[in-house]
């Protein structure tokens, strides 16, 4: 009975997310109707674009992979009361480290993959731990610090890629990584009919499980959450607040580094200069819709993955511009951010149901 009451609150968080998605889709439908398109055909091709065949499903999963890892990064920092807006920079550095390894390190495949993953992890962690340290030591707000780190990463790529990783033809992007040196796997590519899906997807799933485990089952997660929920109480209880801030940013950074890995050595196989990856910010939306819960992040990233990868097809088949998909995401975020309203609504529904069925009520 007590387990049930716990579930009741989290299921309301789920209902809130579903309501936000539903209203987002309605918002998108209204926009489509306003520009004179048929919303039903629009949505039909949007979802068809993401899911119509095995190749498209693979691409959707590959898109979702990056979002999932960034979403986890943002969600994890949220749990410690930090706002990691620097996932883009952490992605870039993680991706840069991985790209360097992919071009320069030659090892047996399993060992190589370990080194590749570790390099991205460390690169991202470094980019996260610096703002974490600045916050802990000098109380520099992490939003400011991470944004500046984004631009440091951006300009570092500007220098590093042409200087050390230049491709044969283009000045603005790195040489393409050989498939055997990337996260792509021939069996996966074949299974999904030549799609972009790669080992990154499994890394992301593993990350979801590990992060969920850390937050729910470990003393590390307990301390991090205590600091995030009430740092004064954490301090009083003997939990080292500053150390937890640094650890939290380090883990968040390494997750975003893994997102860079999956994006630059899996989804694509090169790095372009002058691009701050938008996924770093989309991840905030993923974390928000997923209520900063690892499983929530899993589902919300899959959903956003469908929208992202289906919007091109929708645009090709109808007169609906791809920006509609982005608008749908925006509307969803808007409704998630005002989720208090839904929370109240669903709480009221729950209470009403309970009063109607007193035998199910949880009073003592």
């Amino acid at each position: 009975m007590k387990k049930k009451s716990r579930r009741a609150t989290s299921s309301n968080a789920f209902l809130v997310a579903v309501s936000a998605v539903f209203l987002g889709l309605i918002g998108g439908a209204v926009l489509m109707a306003l520009i004179g398109s048929n919303p039903f055909t629009g949505f039909y091709y949007l979802f068809r674009g993401g899911l119509m065949n095995i190749e498209r499903v693979g691409n959707t999963l590959a898109t979702a992979t990056t979002l999932m890892l960034v979403g986890l990064s943002v969600a994890f920092a949220f749990k410690t009361g930090l706002f990691n807006i620097g996932a883009s920079g952490q992605m870039l550095i993680g991706g840069l480290c991985a790209t360097l390894v992919a071009h320069k390190v030659f090892l047996p495949r399993p060992l190589f993959l370990v080194v590749l993953i570790a390099s991205a992890l460390i690169g991202g962690a470094l980019w996260g731990v610096i703002p974490g340290f600045l916050k802990a030591r000098f109380n520099v707000h992490e939003v400011v610090a991470t944004i500046m780190m984004n631009w440091i990463a951006y300009w570092s790529i500007y220098y590093f890629v042409p200087a050390y990783l230049k491709g044969p033809s283009l000045e603005t992007e790195s040489a393409s990584i050989a498939v055997s040196q990337s996260l792509r796997a021939p069996w996966l590519t074949k299974l999904f009919n030549g799609s972009y899906i790669n080992y990154g997807f499994f890394i992301a799933i593993a990350a979801v499980i590990i992060i969920r485990f850390i937050l729910d089952k470990t003393t590390l997660g307990f301390g991090l959450k205590a600091v995030g929920s009430n740092r004064f109480c954490a301090e009083y209880a003997g939990i080292k607040v500053n150390r937890n801030v640094i650890i939290s940013m380090m883990i968040a950074g390494s997750l975003a580094g893994l997102a860079g890995l999956s994006f630059y050595t899996g989804y694509s196989r090169n790095m372009q200069i002058g691009v701050l990856p938008a996924q770093g910010f989309d991840g905030i939306a993923v974390a928000l819709l997923g209520a900063s819960n690892p499983l929530g992040v899993l589902f919300s990233s899959l959903f956003f993955g469908v929208l992202q990868s289906g919007k091109g097809f929708m645009n090709a088949m109808t007169s609906v511009p791809p920006e509609i998909a982005d608008s749908i995401i925006a509307v969803i975020i808007y409704f998630t951010a005002t989720s208090v309203l839904f929370q109240r609504f669903w709480d009221r529904v729950t209470r009403y149901r309970r009063s109607r069925h007193p035998e199910q009520s949880e009073e003592e």
Partner: protein, 506 residues
Amino acid sequence: MSHVIEMLNIRKEFPGIVANDDITLQVREGEIHAILGENGAGKSTLMSILFGLYHADRGVIKVRGKEVHIHNPNDANDLGIGMVHQHFQLVQNFTVTENIILGKEGGFFLDRKSASRRIAALSAQYGLNIDPDMVIEDISVGMQQRVEILKMLYRDANILIFDEPTAVLTPQEIVDLIQIMRNLVKEGKSIILITHKLAEIKEVADRCTIIRRGKLIGVVDVDDTSVATMASMMVGRPVSFKVEKKPAQRGRDILEVRDLNVLNNKRLLGVKGFSLTVKAGEIVGIAGVDGNGQSELIEAITGLRPIESGSVIVDGNDITHADVRRRNEVGVGHIPEDRQKRGLVMSSSLADNVAVKEYYRPPFSKRGILDAAYLGDYAQEVIDRFDVRSGEGIYSLAGKLSGGNQQKLIVGREISGASELLIAVQPTRGLDVGAIEYIHSQLVAHRDKGYAVLLVSFELDEIFNLSDRIAVMFGGELVDIVKTEETNEDEVGLMMAGIARKEGRR
């Protein structure tokens, strides 16, 4: 005699708890009507319904005989109902006038001058003694409360709700407030007073509605009813006001504080050359007016504030510069002054809150992995033993508990941790008689098990009731330390003003 307010058969439910179960409240014109009940009995819920913050599931509200629907505080204001909240709702860097007219600015142009004149007039009429041009952050808590009262008067409220008004006041300010309440009634206002302090009800109220666990217990005329009767109606059993305790069995030194110097937030010495020893099996009370270095002393002992010089030794371990966790392990338990800010994580479950200090070590966790089953069982034990009432047991969020239950949870956590030295700061602030009695008895029981207790309280009653010895602090210094049976409240009161005891009596 006509009723200004009638709340008939009010019912209000929250998930897992019936906060108000068929409660009826009738307030007569021109009376001070007290609502008495333990924390969590449903007083605040009832008033929140009257003020439009909650909506009753069932029941009728009548104002001056006419049925009304109050949807929000504005409706309540329009009906002439005003409320002084326990936590003031004032903008710190605004003046009194600006705060009062906030939301009632009138037209496009701000007419501070005439507003200020009206406020001065109201202040004079009711003897509130407030300068409308003072800035809130510069005035005392008692004056801030009078600003809240003025705010209601400015809005022409004639039914005034006071929610635990004396919780934040000094004894002198309480005397003033009681006078103000009498003035208000004399000018034709009606007052609803929510409190659990029986002495105040006895002094100022005409009638008293008593509720317990969401149910109406009775309405009594205060003059014809003894304090003891009201207390037992409130708690549901006879209450003793005197703490029963045996003489102290003093053991070895547990806490030794030597020549302690600690800086306060203004970077000045808040604690100066302070020395104190607390032995096993005794309660030492620190008496003093708020702000005389008690907070700094306690924070220094518990590791929340760095020590400039001097030393702190607990049970033979020098912890002068140890971190908080080391202090916990040495056996320092701490019931903090601000339970909501320091003591609990409001958005976490009771189970997590019970474990917040010890989660990292066996048997709460092994090799970094939490033992959820043990955590749950342990929390259940603490909750059962300390009678923490909540809607959803160990899964309830700490923020959903009433103040008394939050405090019981903290006391339970600290006492269950078997602290060699238990530091209790204002352990019963804002609590009702039943909870106070309970927490006092727990502190004495902890002493009787042979542990040391250091108590800080601004209530002399509490100090005298519990302490075996009394240390008086003034201006960051120890004025004197005396045995409780060899002193009295007058003497300690003088020492609290910095006047040392006469020589030769020691």
